[in-house]
Point group: C2
Chain length 152, copies 2
């Protein structure tokens, strides 16, 4: 990924790896406007979701369960947004989109994590591609807090 992804908000990567499965890698997204935002990226190169194979869909379904259940136990979000957009890749002259999902927990109530307040200002509406970075130490603690509830 050469471009700054709309929701990931980082150039050249998706963030820190949380865990991987046979076909996907799960990252904690660099932008945490919505607490617990993750990226689920396919390990092999595919341009479109139509190229994703049966075994990869089944594996993805398991990841969806793991992430939603882990977040439920960590921060109890109200709902979850999932999207595979790839729009920002096409701002480039030579677009090279990769299959990656944005997993965005959404919150009706404000959540406090390690003294930082997370209020979902867009609750009830589409998530906005606006960057919010948190200090590295808090980001690392966040990753560990989520991982504590990811079942193997």
């Amino acid at each position: 990924m050469d471009e700054i992804c709309e929701y990931c908000q980082i150039a050249g990567g998706y963030g820190d790896i949380l865990f991987e499965t046979p076909y996907w890698i799960i990252y904690l997204a660099p932008s945490q406007r919505y607490l617990g935002t993750c990226v689920v990226a396919l390990k092999r190169y595919c341009k479109d979701l139509s190229q994703v194979e049966k075994k990869e869909w089944v594996d993805f379904g398991v990841i969806v369960q793991k992430l939603e259940h882990a977040l439920e136990k960590t921060f109890k979000p109200t709902l979850y947004n999932w999207s595979c957009f790839k729009n920002s890749a096409f701002r480039s002259i030579k677009p090279n989109p990769e299959i990656h999902w944005h997993f965005i927990p959404r919150y009706q109530e404000e959540v406090d994590f390690e003294g930082f307040k997370f209020r979902d200002q867009d609750f009830g509406y589409i998530p906005q591609p606006i960057k919010r970075e948190i200090p590295l130490k808090i980001q690392e603690k966040l990753g560990r807090a989520i991982m504590k509830h990811v079942t193997s």
Copy 2:
């Protein structure tokens, strides 16, 4: 669905049925800001994607192929956005979200269909939940044009 869905832009339904599979129903979305926008709704009630079962994911993967391939042959979009958001359901006092995917073809070039011009004003960026209706006759022709390329 009691609320007006963000991308579907209709109260109480997802539009006209294009086809169905064992577990999902595919609709032509009432709003055609992005030509060929469809909704893929799970037949049974689920609040979250984590409740979607393996056989339903596999079936969904086949639908993704069918829709992307059909659109490719009909209008040759540049890319496809997929999302499962359910945000607007939570504007209600008693939210009753249902699993449904938004399939949104995106276009670098303007497309003409039956004398109507479709220019993707947001190309390279997230799709905007702004309604664009087209006349019923054109909507019906659009459904038939897509279905001509949906393989059984």
